[in-house]
């Protein structure tokens, strides 16, 4: 349990650093650390497959792409857009609402009933695979087709502006 609190503290700490870091590249690096703490959370929950997939897909691929893009864009203080006055007002308003929500939820806070897993080994590859390919086969296949169509769509958008016949 104390491990959980330590890791949870680290998650929140790094997430705050993500939004408070001045340099966007530093911000992404903190985001990587945040995702790393998520991986540890999954391991603590005995969801090894989810942990390793989070590690590979989010830390290893998606954030590399983020970092890649940010390095190319080369944002810095000079190119930072000056925000209009109305946006600042909206920001203060939004922050105030968030504070109210947090305060009210803190007031109502009580220990929630912990969800008991019927099968604590559900997160292991073999069990997860059996569930995915038996009970949830249709949603699983549909989501894979959805992802594929998103990928094809991205390729189409990227090649549209060039010559009509695709090289």
């Amino acid at each position: 349990m104390s491990t959980f609190y330590f890791i949870a503290f680290l998650s929140i700490f790094f997430s705050i650093l993500v939004i408070s870091a001045k340099n966007p590249v530093h911000s992404i690096l903190y985001l990587i650390l945040t995702f790393f703490t998520f991986t540890i959370h999954y391991i603590l929950l005995n969801a090894q497959f989810l942990a390793i997939v989070n590690f590979i897909v989010y830390m290893g691929a998606i954030l590399v792409l983020f970092l890649y893009t940010l390095m190319l864009i080369n944002l810095n203080k000079e190119s930072e857009p000056v925000k209009p006055f109305m946006v600042k007002i909206a920001g203060v308003f939004g922050g105030g609402i968030l504070a109210v929500a947090v305060a009210s939820s803190l007031k109502l806070m009580g220990a929630s009933n912990p969800v008991l897993l019927q099968n604590p080994d559900l997160g292991l590859v073999k069990n997860l695979g059996k569930v995915l390919f038996n009970e949830f086969l249709l949603p699983f296949e549909i989501s894979s087709v959805l992802l594929l169509s998103a990928m094809v769509g991205a390729v189409l958008l990227a090649t549209k502006e060039k010559e009509p016949k695709a090289a």
Binding site: L29, V53, F55, I56, G60, A61, V64, Y68, L72
Partner: protein, 343 residues
């Protein structure tokens, strides 16, 4: 029981760590000797007999050189880069089964640091993490050549990770497990996976070259275009760490290839040897066999480096996206169809 197990684990970790470092150290020597052989030269032969103390001399030079951190570099990240590179290179060895279970004094120990049931994916995760060392170092140098090298490394790694993953999927369809220990056990004797997955192995090999940034895929440090690539600004041991990480990566990926495709510690006639040598010596012979395979594979890496010229960057991307990925998908389909028909 618990304590002996723990002590054995710790000893194993230290030994594997030391072996990786020594192998990486002598890979630099071997690389120069192999290059010399291919180019009909002699190679390093001054430090010690046949120059075998050359890596120590190089290491001493690296440690004693002046530390330079460029004024405009991001100081902290400049140091994090090489540290991360060497860290990710070293942690990959944790899931590799170095031999079958060994009996010492009536107890059985596994010659593997940890057998997590997602071992293959762990290797994959470590590989995908490896690019951060290069990217952070390249960006923190605040040098356009370093940045270009880092960006090349990132796009190259991501592109080749896909076909690497797809080539492993075909293998996993046959093995039915993600644990490297079980994969190694399934290849008992001469039933190596490479006979069942020749195309998959070829794809994995090409991707391994690209993931370790070895020639002909060493575009991130292509000196004809980018001075020194991502490590242009690095000097002394921080440069040493980058170069060292490359050799450790080569060692680990050779070990992974040997385990996944070339039978790991298995060899033909191992049952006969096991019956002759007993349960303590026989696993050690298996370890020697595994290292033989690894060393040949490292030699192969060097052989290719000194034989094949470097790709152009667009050729690299074309190969990754237009040839390797379709081939890997074809391989998956073929594997599925054939294994269903033969069942």
């Amino acid at each position: 029981m618990e304590t002996t197990d723990l002590i054995f684990r710790i000893v194993l970790i230290v030994v594997i760590f030391a072996i990786s470092l020594v192998v990486a150290m002598y890979s630099t020597y071997a690389e120069r000797k192999v290059a010399a052989f291919f180019q009909d030269r002699i190679g390093p032969n001054r430090a010690g007999p046949w120059g075998i103390l050359q890596p120590l001399a190089d290491g001493g030079k690296m440690f004693l050189k002046e530390e330079i951190i460029p004024t405009n570099a991001t100081g902290f990240l400049f140091i994090v880069g090489p540290s991360l590179a060497i860290l990710t290179a070293c942690i990959g060895s944790a899931v590799i089964p170095w031999g079958s279970a060994i009996q010492i004094g009536g107890r059985t120990f596994d010659l593997q640091v940890t057998d997590i049931n997602v071992g293959v994916l762990y290797i994959f995760g470590v590989v995908s993490l490896g690019v951060y060392g290069i990217m952070i170092g390249g960006w923190a140098s605040n040098n356009k050549y370093s940045l270009l090298g880092a960006i090349r490394a990132a796009s190259q790694n991501i592109s080749y990770e896909i076909s690497m993953g797809l080539s492993i999927i075909a293998l996993l369809m046959l093995t039915g497990t993600l644990s490297l220990k079980e994969i190694a056990e399934q290849q008992h004797g001469f039933a190596w996976n490479v006979w069942r997955q020749p195309l998959g192995f070829l794809l994995f090999l090409v991707c391994a070259f690209a993931e370790t940034n070895r020639s002909p895929f060493d575009l991130p440090e292509c000196e004809t275009e980018l001075v020194g690539g991502y490590h242009t600004e690095y000097s002394s041991m921080k440069l040493g760490f980058y170069l060292f990480a490359e050799y450790i990566n080569m060692f680990i990926s050779s070990a992974v290839m040997a385990t996944l495709y070339w039978g790991g510690y298995n060899y033909p006639g191992m049952d006969w040897v096991a019956a002759q040598a007993g349960p303590t010596i026989a696993p050690l012979i298996g370890v020697v066999v595994l290292f033989g395979k690894i060393f040949f594979s490292i030699f192969f890496f060097m052989w290719v480096r000194w034989t094949i010229p470097r790709f152009r960057y667009d050729q690299l991307m074309d190969l990754g996206w237009k040839i390797l990925i379709p081939l890997a998908i074809t391989n998956i389909v073929l594997t599925g169809v054939i294994s269903t028909l033969l069942k």
